[in-house]
Assembly symmetry: C2
Homo-oligomer: 217 residues x 2
């Protein structure tokens, strides 16, 4: 593992993996860095550079074996194993994520669901029962949870995360529209749906090219 | 509007806005760049720099008026108006977004829902009926849609987006785990839930600090 891998490299690896898996379903064989780059919307040099960070792949002039490269990228991303996940916030977004096949396909298994709402506590979600968030620590320990998905309101998120981190959770996928603070060695990734819509609103308001809209200075 | 505003500036503006709105609910008054920076997890210099891109705010040494600055940031982000949105993909994620109060609160109004599944077409979603995606163009025109939210499978997304762009849509919020290609002047923002989980998996596998896990070279 190289000392320094940028977040954009990781994102591209995710993207290559999706492309390689589609190619594997279509029969596999070999793929050149030029082909992989074309499918990923990047350059062949970028593909080679990203992959070379993690060792030597393929033979010069012969491209990569699709199945082998997919395996290797899965391994780099830490996807060669299952992750035990707790979901805090049994609302609509939480429910959609609970059923989200792409998460399970990637080895992320939701093993506990918790909420603060008495009307939700006890609800059956698949084979699970929604638990009271008051017993968060007990659930995390009982299930050996490694990753927390947070879909609670912004005002509640920090306190939940502080408790989970104190219980040893080191990975957070945060859907609450707030900036979480955690100690070093805890990894937070944000899914900012509202922020993306706001950025889109900014683009549409300010960035319409001169040839399609009025110019503004 | 300055010539060049980075995406991270836009993200910080979104973030400032959320903080300012919370402050306004708590009584408003004035806020210094130091206080805003502390709440946003950035520096006062960064706050001043971000805001100065859009003109002059507040009085040196007197801070900003909370309500006034919130209004101004809303205006910069293009949130001083309503956006007409079509949702393509009436699955679980789509349903969660349809009900997502934070979208409506920001002025994003879903005025059409479309799907390819005959079992879903005709379903009542609030005051809307789910429409056949075959009539996408007609729905976009009828409703004056400006923004498309895409929650269809990755393999279907590009074709949907091509049709919407041909019909004049210039803003896409993409939940499909695929890289969309569009012409200049069309703005795509991706919400990559699976990619964020994969990046988290990478972090947990490779980036555990030396003092809490085994070192790896």
């Amino acid at each position: 593992m190289p000392a320094k891998v940028s977040d954009s490299t990781i994102r591209r690896l995710s993207h290559y993996l999706r492309i390689l898996e589609a190619m594997a379903r279509d029969g596999g064989g070999t793929v050149s860095s030029v082909q992989l780059a074309a499918a990923a919307g990047t350059t062949a040099a970028q593909v080679r550079k990203d992959l070379s960070l993690f060792g030597s792949f393929g033979k010069r002039g012969h491209g990569y074996q699709v199945a082998e490269l997919a395996d290797r990228v899965r391994e780099i991303l830490g996807l060669g194993r299952d992750w035990r996940v707790a979901l805090v916030g049994a609302g609509r977004i939480g429910s959609a994520l609970f059923e989200y096949a792409d998460f399970r396909r990637r080895g992320f298994h939701i093993v506990a669901v918790l909420d603060v709402d008495p009307a939700k506590i006890g609800e059956r979600w698949g084979t699970l029962a929604v638990e009271d968030v008051a017993s968060l620590e007990a659930a995390l320990e009982r299930e050996g949870v490694e990753v927390l998905i947070v879909t609670v309101p912004a005002t509640e998120a920090q306190a939940i995360v502080d408790r989970a981190v104190a219980s040893g959770v080191r990975g957070i996928l945060n859907f609450a529209p707030t900036q979480l603070r955690t100690e070093d060695g805890v990894f937070v990734h944000d899914v900012n749906m509202v922020m993306e819509l706001e950025a889109l609103s900014f683009d549409l308001t300010n960035r319409i090219p001169a040839d399609v809209g009025d110019t503004a200075d």
